[in-house]
Symmetry: C4
């Protein structure tokens, strides 16, 4: 595996192996991909392979333009068309994580946005994480995985949300997709999303009248960690 995609495959392998480590997956219920825009390819977990058997040579590499498999002997994740569409539509995305993590799935099943109830959320997501509308019958019966991507894209565009500022979405009745600059960065956001979903539900039960934090506090925490004026972490980060 001394191919031109070795680094990409290794990054995708490591990000997928982080899913069970962070307790985001049961069995094979998740997949992480990454894109290499210079080489015009994306790499993704193969479908239905157990994490403890996954090796770099199992990772499937596809042409970003049309999804043609350029390396790998296994069938790619059944959600590949969703990932591919998102990379095509949002050129800022470098990695995507899809899981069935329990607290994010529960909110997606409830069909609810994840409001920004506190600074933990604001440190990572610049506003509510949106929940998509449900796919209609034609979208489900047609090219389902592609249409899942289309509905995600529609959600960000019609609601004028920037997927780099709010790098996650809940697909109604399904579950979460998280984005990142890299494969591992998208896993990081998937962890945060799941934790924020748990804390949000607990917050709502503690206080059914709770309101999202103010725009001022959202701005403060988000820009403490992101953008040119960030002052969280070390200079080199």
């Amino acid at each position: 595996m001394s191919s031109q995609y070795a680094n990409l495959r290794l990054a995708v392998l490591q990000a997928n192996l982080a899913l069970p480590k962070f307790d985001l997956v049961v069995f094979t219920w998740g997949n992480v991909s990454a894109v290499d825009r210079e080489q015009g390819v994306m790499a993704i977990k193969p479908s239905g392979v157990a994490y403890d058997e996954l090796r770099a040579e199992h990772i499937v590499v596809l042409r970003l333009e049309d999804g043609h498999i350029v390396e790998g002997d296994l069938r790619p994740s059944s959600d590949t068309a969703t990932h591919l569409y998102l990379y095509q539509q949002f050129p800022e995305l470098g990695g995507i994580t899809h899981t069935h993590s329990r607290w994010a799935v529960a909110r997606a099943q409830a069909g609810l946005d994840l409001p920004a109830y506190g600074t933990t959320h604001a440190d990572h997501f610049y506003g509510a994480v949106p929940c998509t509308r449900e796919l209609n019958a034609a979208e489900i019966e047609g090219d389902y995985e592609l249409n899942t991507g289309l509905v995600i894209g529609e959600t960000f565009r019609t609601r004028q949300i920037d997927p780099t500022a709010v790098p996650a979405v809940l697909v109604a009745g399904h579950g979460p997709f998280a984005f990142g600059k890299t494969a591992m960065d998208s896993v990081h956001n998937a962890v945060v999303l799941n934790e924020c979903c748990l804390m949000a539900s607990e917050t709502e039960r503690n206080n059914p009248e709770v309101k999202p934090i103010s725009q001022v506090l959202l701005d403060k925490h988000y820009f403490r960690k992101h953008g040119s004026a960030a002052y969280y972490g070390q200079e080199s980060e």
Copy 2:
């Protein structure tokens, strides 16, 4: 233990040992069985033996026809009559797992079906997982474990549910039984059932008005993974 049932016993041992690994049991609160229809026997965990002491020679082998013990020195699980009846009535079943896993027990105690609120559920269960009616006094005071099997059978038949398409049931006031093609496959479904029960309750709390997903989405996800048109996983699976 070079007997004709060695493979069957080993499969049942390994499936029982998976219960604590998947955090489905406290103490000895669970049992897995498997059937070998060619040899006309089922094998099951002995009653009340701790998982960390369980060995293949402890597994009890019984004649499928009448429950006569054909191998094993220990008393079989007190739930043996339930397993036996289900194998007799549903020739498609290869393995059965009974546990007191917390989220599935809570729903069974609540006496509620587990609705299909999302694709995690639809990937594994083709519709709501049914909850049985309560056993009546005569059924409890009579041959209780057999009657538990009868009420499970009644539930699937009167509600016209196929136990291979919905491979699990909640016994009201008691807990879950999960089915599978093999012992380990039934453990797999027991894990999914418990996780879906947790996510369903959280979903209902997040949104008390939540409705099950559409039949179209249920079909899409179920048949993505099951049947001749499945396209999840690798060809050989």
Copy 3:
């Protein structure tokens, strides 16, 4: 430590060490004792000693009649007077476990009995686990730990509950005490109690109208495991 109490101390040590193993305690929030009625002594964990530093010689042995310390250099658990009173009043008890396990504490703080909502409960407790009344100001300001024992005793007597058939109690605003034939048996019941409290709360949230199981089902499951007609487990158990 070749004393006449070595076995008793060892049993109490091992039972106390089981508390963190079963995730029943945070820091030092629990204690287990056992009684040796032939020798007229009880043994208990010393107060405020961390579990990972606890050794058999730390276990304190007291005269059952009057609580006089007969062996051990450390101060016994601050709850010793409660344990002592319970052993004096209920000659069937062989071990007592007190913890601040989260789900049992939550129900005790809520001031509610733990109803028998299912067979998991019925396998271990022959009816609802009672919650005591609150101690009054005089009882708290007086000999508090002894009075805690008195209120527990009052609860079992006035409600005509047998502490060997329902081997646990919730002290209102405080937390659980579990009983057993031995120190380790009381730990076992403390684990079951905590798990049943979690499942009961989840059951009530799933179905606010839920009722306890029938007396017939309670009888069936309890006597399947207890008494002369029990048929759960192996003969020698």
Copy 4:
């Protein structure tokens, strides 16, 4: 690192490493500091450094009077101004822990005090743990971290709460700060706070009418463990 601050840095390192051990943090979401009042300095975790890479030489030492960095090459925690203010205002504090632990954050996001619902709470906090008011826009847009400290200080002063008797606070819409005599003692209180928040929410759900425990019981348990008449633990503690 044979400096005059080596012991302080080591204590702060060890306390920070205890955060993941006690499951209080996800990623780098927490920081512990300690003060050395004789030397007039405080030491704190550097900003955004992963716990598994943290070493004593990373710990930043600042002058207590003005926050000037006197040792350490890394940028201190972004919450340093909050810690510094609290040490300046409350001379009894020796250590401070800030985390985003899930149950404490949920209550802070709900904007609610943590009432004393039971003896677990009373053993550690002499009354309700207060939740601050929300910071206003000017406070957020100004010197935010200093103002967070000011609002915490205001909370304790206007409500006449002694931060050594109630060594924790919930910052509305943000999360918990816990105090202690030492860095590790503040971690201990952060663990207790998170656990008590979980138990309180579960208590409220079990019984929406629940009231805090009586002042008499609060006194009894708090002074059993604190002050000159304490009788919990060993003499030397």
